[in-house]
């Protein structure tokens, strides 16, 4: 037994709860209900199997799975084996999957027979990737050349991983995040980064071991990931949904499973509120509602409290590079409606002017973050790392320069002002315009494209593409959209496309994005494009 004060590694909580409360539900999904003993058993067998196949301390284990109990088990298996895990969104297309696996130099890919069409060819291509493990239908998995079927592997391996020698300074995970350069960057998080962050979050959210935490967000997204980590850290229960594709089903699960914690992004809450307007929804078991990734509109709060009368509403802000920066105490939601609060427990933040002097109240500056949650750096990107991690208070210490603009008020509360890069936040996910532009440029017939974010009530921002076609090429919106779907995860696919003869350029030939953005801000015209989801939302409101 590991007493709480001595839990230093991600899997220490799992080991403790499997010993202390083996029958308590750990993970509930549509298909499975795993107790702590069962989750531990699955993780421990997989950990040993990874070690038996040559996985060593520090190796990267990629997990390309839908939200599922096996995905959670695989995270802890990697940690038990001394490896670092990386969760890849199951919507990822082949090119990007290949990119992140190659970038990380992943040794193992854990996936599912349903995703083998994508996973298997990429696994064969990459020499460093020596093991492909497929869950799901055993016959389908076994039919994939070179793949190992997960079920048989677990059945034939004892739940006894060998000591890995890992200490809290070791790499625990790579979390890939969109970068303004176009290629995703691997945020390196140590065991101690993650153990600290999960504890700090659970503390300010006032969570306990009897909580039942809903998770509809992809675990490749750190907000989704940390719901699972917090649940296991506390010995609580994770109610894990594959997605938020069917909101009515999610509501039913909340009601049936007595969910107490409802984490979401504004798009999730917008869907729930649209349903609630049609027919009142009651989710009285919910005690906490948490929002991050984009600003929660103030007029969402009263109807959310109608649905969940006993809930505390948390507004938060963060970035993958330190998981979470700040949160607003729920008792202050009405007093400080525009604020994202103060630093999370055990950390500090400060807003600095260009000249390095702390900004006065009301003055805009760049937000800096100091604490044990700050990342180790970006994988294989020393220059990018030096841009984000700058010298701190003591020799050798580094603090996170977020490059986001903030203000503080006289009470020390933080206000988000804007980003210094052109990353788009749509549906709570980060979209790199360059990444989308590169994908669009690879579509035959497209000469060039520029991508910007435009305001959208439902999405926060919607992705809009301005596209110049090659001479003589005709392409309708539908054909363009299909070509996008083949190349990009759905949340990156432009909602709007505007075909133009030319893009506004600077003298040096760079696309003048500001002209495009300003034109959107100035015009009151209806946005072009399909606007299908907007149409539906209008219908419902």
């Amino acid at each position: 037994m590991i007493p709480p004060a001595h839990r230093r590694l991600l899997h220490d909580g799992l080991l403790a709860h499997a010993a202390e409360r083996p029958d308590h539900p750990a993970v509930i999904t549509a298909d499975e209900r795993l107790s702590y003993a069962e989750l531990h058993d699955r993780a421990a067998r997989l950990a040993r199997a990874l070690q038996d196949r040559g996985v060593r301390r520090g190796d990267r284990v990629a997990i390309f799975l839908e939200n599922s109990a096996t995905l959670v088990a695989a995270i802890y298996a990697a940690s038990l084996a001394g490896a670092a895990f990386m969760v890849v969104n199951p919507q990822t297309k082949a090119d990007k999957l290949r990119y992140v696996l190659a970038d990380a130099g992943a040794a193992v890919l854990v996936s599912d027979a349903r995703l083998a069409r994508l996973a298997a060819p990429v696994a064969v291509e990459l020499a460093h990737l020596h093991t492909l493990i497929l869950g799901g239908d055993p016959a389908e998995a076994a039919a994939v050349p070179g793949a190992i079927a997960l079920g048989a592997l677990l059945a034939s391996t004892p739940p006894e991983p060998r000591p890995s020698g890992v200490i809290p300074l070791d790499l625990a995970a790579l979390v890939y995040t969109s970068g303004s350069t176009g290629n995703p960057k691997g945020v390196m998080l140590s065991q101690q980064n993650m153990v600290f962050a999960q504890g700090s979050l659970a503390q300010y959210l006032r969570l306990a071991s009897d909580d039942r935490i809903l998770d509809v967000l992809p675990l490749a997204f750190d907000y989704g990931l940390y719901q699972a980590l917090m649940a296991v850290h506390l010995g609580a229960t994770l109610v894990l949904e594959a997605s938020f594709a069917f909101p009515a089903q999610v509501v039913r699960r909340v009601q049936e499973e007595g969910v107490t914690v409802l984490p979401g992004v504004p798009t999730v809450f917008a869907s729930l509120l649209a349903m609630h307007r049609n027919q009142a929804i009651g989710m009285p078991s919910v005690r906490r509602i948490t929002n991050t990734a984009a600003h929660l509109p103030d007029d969402y709060v009263p109807p959310l409290l109608e649905m969940c009368p006993d809930a505390l509403v948390y507004k938060m802000y963060g970035l993958t590079e330190c998981k979470r920066v700040c949160y607003l105490e729920p008792e202050l939601v009405l007093q400080k409606p525009m604020s994202v609060g103060k630093a999370i427990p055990g950390t500090e933040v400060f807003v600095l002017r260009d000249d390095g002097v702390p900004a006065a109240p009301g003055e805009t500056g760049v937000l800096h973050v100091r604490g044990p949650h700050v990342m180790m750096g970006y994988w294989n990107l020393p220059e990018e790392t030096d841009r984000m991690l700058v010298p701190g208070r003591y020799p050798g210490e580094r603090v996170l320069c977020t490059h986001d603009f903030f203000k503080v008020d006289t009470d020390g509360f933080l206000y988000f002002v804007g980003r210094s890069d052109d990353i788009i936040k749509s549906r709570g996910e980060k979209v790199s315009p360059v990444e989308v532009e590169n994908a669009l440029a690879s579509i035959p017939g497209v000469r060039e494209a520029a991508v910007i974010g435009v305001p959208d009530d439902l999405l926060g921002q919607a992705v809009r593409a301005y596209v110049v076609l090659d001479g003589g090429v005709e392409m309708d919106e539908r054909a363009f959209r299909r070509a996008c779907m083949a190349r990009l995860e759905a949340f990156m696919v432009p909602r709007d496309v505007v075909f133009v003869d030319a893009l506004p350029k600077t003298d040096s030939g760079k696309v003048r994005k500001k002209s495009l953005t300003d034109a959107v801000a100035d015009s009151s015209e209806h946005p072009p494009g399909t606007g299908r989801t907007a149409a539906r939302d209008r219908e419902r409101s």
Binding site: A242, P247, A248, Q249, A486, A490
Partner: protein
């Protein structure tokens, strides 16, 4: 292949996956688990059913058992069309 199934497969093929794959997709395969539809995709599917067949898909019926495979979509649309005479007449007019 009956007409509704053909319509649904064409809609999925044109909007969500690459040519040819819509026909290859097993009728009982989960569209969300195969990465064909995400949450926005489900909204677009619902809008398609509403516009194409004049159905109203209430929020509480937007569930995987009704919409998460080609077979389920076809069965759901048929059931709703059979249930609502007015709706069905409207749909026939639209289809025609």
């Amino acid at each position: 292949m009956q007409e509704i199934e053909r319509d649904v497969r064409r809609f999925i093929g044109e909007n969500f996956i690459i040519d040819g794959e819509a026909d290859a997709l097993a009728g009982d395969a989960s569209l969300t688990q195969h990465g064909v539809l995400d949450s926005m995709g489900v909204l677009e599917l619902i809008l398609f059913l509403e516009q194409r067949y004049g159905l109203q898909v209430p929020d509480e019926e937007a569930l995987p058992e009704n919409l998460d495979s080609v077979d389920r979509i076809v069965r759901y649309a048929q059931r709703r069309l059979a249930a609502g005479g007015v709706e069905a007449a409207g749909a026939a007019a639209r289809v025609a």
